[in-house]
Symmetry: C2
Subunit: 433 residues, 2 copies
């Protein structure tokens, strides 16, 4: 007797779903050598969470302050307060291209915000954006290598960075974009196409300056799909807070613009109302090199500062999270630090963002008695004033910053002392040096 | 004792692969009522075929003539002869949006070419392009309905059309784009992104006139992804011959331009050399309605003819494959057929493309003795000459064409007499009437 096809279909669906879940539940592509160790968390954040009790006002203020701390921009504060007041369990994500070694901007500045989000009770995710890396022709465009190093190096670097700023690496979700896109339940590509349907060609073209390229029609077409994919990442992950450096804001604004029109993977608040993702942007950490043109005319200073972004292709412009103490000291000794200049001065900006900005309450400068003896500053304002007046010498500022960074980055060096991680780092280094 | 993670991984991979194949092997989304009947062939053409014996020259000439017959354009004849000479087993595809009822252009003209391809030993596939339909906002943008009608109506209409022109519906592969894109082995989306990487933004913008829209930045961004998806369809299906009406040529030319640079799903000949897909284009069948402007100035005649394309949104402009004899007669009675005019005359064009073009060797015109008595034409040239001279009256030309079409379409009407197919047709009709 033939089986009723509807029964057969039901049985198949159940078996396939079960196997699929089993497939998804394991550290599937982990190298075998890692399998005995604690696996990277590659599972997705749960799509729904139970509703917590209604929060008290002081707690809302505390969480909002943590979330807003040190941000260059939050779109918008009102929406954040609305979600916190509703007692919404919040999910965050930040995406990274797997394009080289992790420097202090991507590592410390952004992971310090993740620490803040975690302290505010937000569920945090790092998206290891292997597809985006491939689209931007990084790491030789080798998809298998990108995927492998995303897990073996980049995810580990993010966990190490979070350790350096006092966050909780064990609570951080690491999601490989490949995994997200291949999950039928996430319907990723349809989400991307729907973002594209809600966005004009002209608008998408304006957004591609986020890739550090000029607008226009000269680049390849995949570069124009990239921001649609970034926006789709937000909806496919179902996150309330899209977080990045200021250079990624245009893709986030696209996501906000289309959000309430999405039919596939729309974002909802607890009441079921369509909402926009919050967009949280950190200031970029400037690179250590002298601007191409110096001195910079007053009207071009803002632009020059933006152009000083750390570049993975100029290793002396950046300190990486796992740099040795000697490398850190050498890079800072060579840093651009014009005497008396407090605006276009990356050393002072680093003291602001990487010392006081990460929670330090003091900066100790060890000087010999003939250079004025040791001194302790308790705010970046005091540092800038002393520097402007000439009472703090560039070499002393650099040395104090170097000492503090060497100390701050100790957990990262320890993390990468592990043979497997060191090998992955060496491979990444060989590809991007 | 814990299981070796490598063993666990291997076991999981095997189980998952087996279940996946089982899942893929069945007519999964078929409505239950169809399950007992012969299922639609939704499997893909095999990715490789065994190499046949080296062919003889007369056979090559015969196959080339069949493949080229009635085409408006073949890119290129030299490449076709190269493949035939090498004894390459050839695969073809044609894609259709699921955007309404199937008219005689999409049904008879294009399926007659499929019949020719089949006679030439080419393995033929119809891609039921549900995603493209959604991108173009057809059928209310309801993805589930589009997918359902793609199988329940559109695939059946293609099989019926092929019956009407003497092709073999059982040898025709019907592939749903959703299935193709969801198959991990096909790596569809990476293929699409790679097409985009090899194509400039400006180039992609020029290609979107295929959608019947003007170039520029006004439309939504998904319309620009559409041609990259069309080109990716060719590589993901691994077909040697991309076939369509002339209005789709720009996407095919993009596929040809990027073909030899593809690293994902490249097309190879039997010797392993990267090749371009052949692009085979049929002339469009004009619609039956009077041009918006008449008479047409001589310098605008070519453009006016192109604008007379049959439109699914103007039902009187088109005959559908399953129209009743009365509908066919009524539509032709109302057709634009200016006396003495043989150029901008859809009735004469239809006689050319749908009678002699499909293989008829004669057109019989039944006339009463006082209208000149019955007459038989043995070529379209004879028909045009008689029409130009006034010896063939418009009403007689229309009646003769109607009779022939009613006869030609009999298998399609019979196919859609089936209750399930009739219901699917009625649903499609209700959505697009």
């Amino acid at each position: 007797m033939p089986i009723d096809p509807r029964v057969a279909k039901l049985v198949k669906a159940t078996v396939c779903k079960t196997v699929y879940r089993w497939f998804e539940s394991s550290p599937w592509d982990q190298p075998a050598r890692d399998a005995a160790a604690r696996p990277l968390e590659r599972h997705m954040p749960p799509p729904t969470m139970s509703t917590p009790p209604s929060p008290a006002a002081p707690d809302i203020a505390r969480r909002a302050a943590l979330i807003e701390r040190n941000l260059a921009e939050l779109l918008t504060r009102e929406e954040l307060l609305g979600l916190l007041t509703a007692g919404e369990p919040l999910r965050h994500y930040i995406g990274y291209e797997i394009s080289g070694r992790v420097h202090l901007g991507g590592g410390l500045v952004l992971m310090a915000k993740v620490r803040d989000f975690q302290e505010a009770g937000v569920d945090c995710t790092v998206l290891l954006a292997d597809w985006h890396t491939w689209i931007n022709d990084k790491l030789g465009g080798d998809r298998d290598r990108i995927r492998r190093l995303a897990l073996a190096y980049y995810g580990e670097a993010m966990r190490a960075s979070l350790l350096c700023v006092g966050g909780d690496p064990d609570a951080l979700h690491l999601v490989l974009a490949s995994d997200l896109y291949a999950d039928p339940a996430r319907d990723y590509w349809a989400t991307m196409i729907e973002v594209a349907k809600h966005t004009s060609v002209a608008r998408m073209q304006r957004s591609v300056t986020i890739l550090g390229r000029r607008e226009g029609e000269q680049h390849d077409f995949a570069k124009l799909i990239y921001p649609a994919m970034q926006a789709a990442d937000i909806f496919a992950l179902g996150v309330h807070i899209a977080h990045a450096g200021m250079d990624q804001r245009k893709a986030h604004v696209i996501a906000r613009d289309v959000a309430t029109r999405m039919r596939i993977n729309p974002l909802h608040d607890a009441a079921g109302t369509a909402i926009k993702p919050l967009a949280a942007h950190s200031a970029l950490l400037p690179g250590l090199l002298k601007p191409d043109r110096w001195p910079v005319p007053p009207e071009e200073r803002a632009e020059a500062l933006a152009a000083m972004k750390m570049s993975k292709s100029k290793p002396r412009s950046a300190v990486f999270i796992h740099d040795s103490p000697d490398e850190i000291r050498a890079k800072l000794r060579g840093a651009f630090c014009p005497p008396g200049e407090v605006e276009l001065n990356p050393v002072l900006d680093w003291i602001e963002q990487l010392c006081f900005g990460l929670g330090d309450t003091a900066l100790r400068v060890e000087r010999t008695p003939d250079h004025g003896g040791p001194v302790t500053f308790s705010s970046v304002r005091e540092v800038r004033e002393a520097y402007a007046s000439g009472s703090l010498h560039p070499m002393d500022a650099k040395a104090a910053l170097a000492d503090r960074l060497i100390d701050r980055l100790e957990p990262a060096r320890r993390h990468f002392a592990d043979a497997g991680r060191a090998a992955a780092l060496a491979e990444m280094e060989s590809l991007t040096a």
